[in-house]
């Protein structure tokens, strides 16, 4: 009866504990302080995670190596972040500007993940300081179609099972991005594999790519436009 339920949200134990009074509730408006690039570099060396809340395009162009990308202005920011961050993990936000950092920390308060935020860094500051950045290649669905079956390219679809069942790229692998932190090992993938990652629009796939990059995968492509663009272009579907 309950076997077809979607995955159990990773952050729920934390939220229930806050609501039951076993973990502290944020009573006052939270805020994030601006950090200099050298401070952030120091925090990263101490193991802090970087949460980059910019768009997949901006993340793809340049980001702090190891950062996790969940777009603030995309849909379901609060829910998606909960699958990628541990509630006990300290994080630094990577943003365009001060205002985005404050909105992010406030949204995180709705799901009890604001207390781990140790400030933010503006990406312009990071780049001006000459600190290292990484990039994530983006391809569109026509380019993907042309490269299918060449150079051993594999496709990973990270949508919900219900979306996958309605149609997917023939031969693609499937793992919901929510399961990446716990079930990545089940996929027949190696860190050197060429891998195109796709979702419905390109946001969840960017989150998935950021997770894979952090875990040592090197040859990743984020598919912009996602399965919506793939279908609109009339490319082949398997069900």
């Amino acid at each position: 009866m309950t076997a077809d339920q979607p995955p159990r949200p990773a952050n729920i134990q934390n939220i229930v504990a806050i609501n039951q009074g076993r973990r502290p509730l944020t009573m006052d408006e939270p805020s994030a302080g601006r950090r200099s690039p050298s401070e952030v570099l120091d925090l990263i060396r101490k193991g802090r995670r970087v949460l980059d809340t910019r768009s997949p395009e901006a993340f793809g162009a340049r980001h702090i190596p190891g950062a996790t990308n969940v777009q603030l202005d995309g849909s379901e920011f609060e829910q998606r972040v909960g699958w990628m961050l541990s509630p006990d993990e300290a994080v630094v936000l990577a943003v365009e500007a001060h205002e985005a950092a404050q909105r992010a920390v406030r949204k995180l308060a709705f799901v009890g993940l604001d207390q781990g935020v140790e400030g933010y860094v503006e990406m312009e500051d990071w780049e001006s300081a000459g600190l290292p950045t990484a990039s994530l290649s983006q391809i569109d669905v026509d380019q993907l179609r042309g490269r299918l079956g060449r150079d051993g390219l594999k496709v990973l679809d990270v949508r919900e099972a219900s979306e996958w069942n309605r149609g997917h790229i023939p031969g693609a692998l499937h793992l919901n991005f929510k399961h990446l932190p716990t079930r990545l090992g089940e996929l027949p993938l190696g860190r050197e594999d060429r891998l195109a990652v796709i979702c419905a629009s390109g946001m969840r796939s960017s989150t998935a790519c950021s997770f894979l990059l952090r875990n040592g995968y090197r040859n990743l492509l984020n598919v912009t436009g996602g399965m919506r663009a793939w279908q609109n272009a009339g490319h082949p579907l398997a069900v």
Binding site: P9, I12, I15, N19, L25, T26, S75, E76
Partner: protein
């Protein structure tokens, strides 16, 4: 009676503000962390938030109940079976809260979580029949709430079907149903 559904689109959560137009007293049901929407609504009606209710220990969002209580001096009410470390008055099955002409009856609806309650609302200035049911996470749009988050799914589903659904079916057909989620959440 005032009745206002308060939706937060980003997470698909729905809270409710119910007030008495006779006394100005308001009750907020399942408030989210950000209390501004409820404070503004009450102020627009020149009302006063006097009661705050959490229907169960939410697992998808942080409750704003204690923030709202601190800000307004309202009384916090929780289901009798909820497990919390802080003080609150407890609502028993069948108990009635009264704000002027508005009567709210507590219905225990286990299944999603063991403590889950609903409020059955009557506007006694219109008549004695119930007008609507705030179903929180028990009954959603086109679906029942997940029984497998707080307990073993079979245990949750069994009480959901044996205890909660018969209580729902016993209500008159005209009772309107207002859930705690619209889309995009559990």
């Amino acid at each position: 009676m005032w009745f206002q559904q308060v939706i937060r689109e980003e997470t698909g959560c729905a809270a409710y503000l119910i007030g008495s137009s006779e006394t100005g007293e308001c009750l907020v049901f399942d408030p989210l962390w950000d209390m501004e929407p409820y404070l503004q609504l009450a102020a627009r009606k020149s009302g006063r938030i006097a009661h705050v209710v959490d229907s169960h220990s939410h697992a998808d969002h942080v409750s704003g109940a204690r923030r709202l209580v601190r800000s307004t001096g309202a009384r916090l009410h929780l289901p009798r079976r909820i497990e919390v470390t802080y003080e609150a008055s407890r609502l028993e099955d069948g108990e009635k809260l009264r704000l002027g002409e508005v009567e709210m009856e507590v219905l225990h609806m286990p299944g999603h979580r063991p403590e889950q309650i609903n409020l059955l609302i009557r506007d006694l200035s219109r008549g004695p029949e119930p007008w609507c049911l705030l179903t929180a996470d028990f009954l959603l749009v086109g679906d029942l709430a997940r029984p497998d988050l707080a307990q073993d799914g079979r245990v949750g589903a069994t009480v959901l079907f044996q205890e909660a659904i018969p209580r729902l079916r016993a209500l008159p057909d005209h009772v309107e149903v207002y859930p705690g989620h619209l889309a995009g959440s559990t």
